[in-house]
């Protein structure tokens, strides 16, 4: 039996069809994307704009550090809360852990959480506790849960399930099968997602800015709005870049340590 013997459409499964649909829709949407139609000096505009970011203004370093510290504190607390909540919720949203009647309501809840924009979460938090760092934490936590729980549950559905199934067939409860069968396999991706969320929350400073909790987000907004502070803006970015890089590096190290342990590379 050769590949050519099969009808051409047999190569397309659900995935292929979705992909083609997506491609067709994107290409169909292209014509409606319009430029300004004016004759602009693209390169000149860009280089002028970018030039104003350099050199970074180190005079505000100390103040930036304070702002950043506050931001990191808020990010840490909200990420911790979000991770705990998401973990619980994602159990309810994973087909291979939760029964159907838990699954769909949980999924729908997550969809609703993700639909609500950050601004509205910020407002909601303000309505509940007023404009302060607690509101920032609440807003970021709720906002993060929508992402994180989705990622978690998708990870749980996509990793190697064989061991979980084996435990289920040994009559372990879904939770037990999850804990001792699936979790050991899903761990590296889950930790990646957690670190990413922490990073995201550090950068989500602007949401906290909305609710007036200060932090670096407010500085960023003020710098962006005043004409001549782009070099200050770039210093803040530089500091954030350091944090992002550290977290990226930590994620890499954790994944590597698990991989090494799995492969059992002798030292």
């Amino acid at each position: 039996m050769n590949k050519q013997d099969l009808p051409w459409h047999s190569r397309f499964d659900l995935l292929g069809v979705t992909f083609l649909l997506f491609l067709a829709a994107s290409l169909g949407a292209l014509p409606s994307i319009q430029g300004s139609g004016r004759d602009l000096d693209y390169w000149g505009n860009l280089s002028h704009f970018v030039a104003r970011f350099f050199p970074p203004d180190w005079s505000i370093f100390e103040r930036t550090m304070y702002g950043l510290l506050e931001t990191i504190q808020i990010a840490l607390v909200s990420t911790l809360l979000a991770v705990i909540l998401s973990f619980l919720i994602s159990l309810g949203a994973s087909r291979n852990v939760a029964p159907g009647w838990v699954l769909w309501p949980t999924r729908m809840l997550l969809n609703i959480i993700r639909t609500i924009p950050s601004l509205l979460w910020a407002l909601l938090a303000v309505v509940i506790v007023g404009s302060n760092s607690l509101a920032g934490v609440i807003a970021l936590t709720l906002y993060s849960v929508g992402y994180l729980a989705k990622f978690f549950s998708e990870t749980f559905e996509s990793t190697d399930l064989s061991s979980q199934n084996a435990l289920k067939s040994l009559r372990a409860s879904p939770l037990q099968a999850f804990q001792y069968g699936l979790w050991p396999n899903a761990r590296p991706i889950i930790w990646s997602h957690c670190l990413w969320m922490l990073e995201y929350n550090v950068r989500s400073a602007s949401i906290i800015g909305y609710v007036g909790a200060g932090g670096i987000g407010l500085h960023l907004k003020l710098y962006a709005e005043s004409a001549d502070s782009w070099n200050k803006f770039s210093l803040v970015l530089l500091c954030i870049l350091v944090i992002v890089t550290v977290l990226d590096f930590a994620g890499e190290k954790i994944r590597k340590s698990i991989r090494d342990k799995l492969e059992g590379t002798p030292k």
Binding site: R38, L40, L123, V126, G130, S131, A227
Partner: protein, 287 residues
């Protein structure tokens, strides 16, 4: 909110000469660079807490709906707001005007259309079918009043939208981004507040200013206001108003820095008349 009113009017605490609030929370507008903003924040906190013998906290929320909701739930006491934001709060009955500031002796300032110096437009009528920028959708002097002006001139209306008159209308993230679009040649003119060009170099540097000219002025734009939460008790309102008014004599420098001029008491409906008219008009325009 009724509860809070009762609490504020609790006879135990009500001694007309003393503030019933344990802590006063004030919101300022985020419109300056952080150095000045943070310095002002500290200065005003110190001044007022000495004056009121209460802890004072200054917030810098970046979204106007946060201010509305904070007034409503009672976590914000005073706010320095544009006339548009003030009108919004008044409509929602979350706050009312306590004081306004005078700019050059007037309770209003002007909105202007800016273009490059080498363009010879005499009035906004000449920009038909050309691209323009507004400061932002929520700006009073950079959107609301200029549109009101266009309507008065009969250029836009229920049948003619902004995009029918201009070839393109762009909204910036503030005065500066709108002006930058003029400087880069993307648009022909931008609507901003007059102090962007005539005031200090808070928004534009000298070089940028030297390339710009005013096409026309429109206004008046009612000046910014200090609003107080409606659920504050009458005596608290009076004490806060008094403390702020005292700045006129005791610390005019700080007053000018933070509130842009002399503080006075006005009739709030009269002050907001123009703004309200413009807001109402806004709803009748073709989108």
């Amino acid at each position: 909110s009724n509860q809070q009113e009762e609490k504020a009017a609790d006879p135990k605490v009500e001694k007309s000469s003393e503030l019933s609030l344990q802590k006063v929370v004030i919101a300022l507008k985020a419109n300056k660079n952080p150095e000045k903003m943070l310095a002002e924040k500290e200065a005003i906190e110190q001044y007022l807490s000495a004056k009121l013998a209460r802890e004072v906290e200054v917030l810098i929320p970046t979204d106007s709906s946060v201010v509305v909701e904070s007034f409503r739930n009672g976590t914000l006491d005073l706010g320095y707001l544009s006339s548009t934001d003030a009108a919004r709060n008044l409509d929602q009955e979350t706050a009312s005007i306590l004081l306004i500031h005078l700019k050059n002796g007037l309770p209003s300032y002007q909105s202007i259309w800016l273009s490059l110096k080498n363009k010879k437009y005499q009035s906004i009528d000449e920009l038909k079918d050309l691209p323009v920028a507004f400061a932002s959708r929520s700006s009073t002097s950079g959107y609301l009043i200029p549109v009101w002006d266009l309507w008065k001139r009969g250029l836009v209306g229920p049948d003619t939208s902004l995009t029918d008159f201009f070839s393109l209308t762009i909204y910036g993230t503030g005065y500066v981004s709108a002006v930058e679009k003029v400087l880069s040649g993307e648009v022909e003119a931008a609507a901003v507040s007059d102090y962007v060009l005539t005031g200090d170099n808070k928004y534009l540097n000298d070089h940028q200013k030297s390339r710009l000219r005013i096409i026309q002025q429109q206004g008046p734009v009612p000046s910014h206001t200090i609003c107080a939460r409606t659920t504050l008790s009458q005596s608290d309102r009076a004490i806060l108003q008094e403390a702020l008014l005292a700045m006129n004599q005791e610390n005019p420098k700080l007053r000018d820095q933070v509130f842009n001029g002399e503080l006075i008491v006005v009739d709030q409906d009269k002050h907001l008349q123009v703004t309200r008219e413009a807001i109402d008009l806004q709803k009748t325009l073709k989108p």
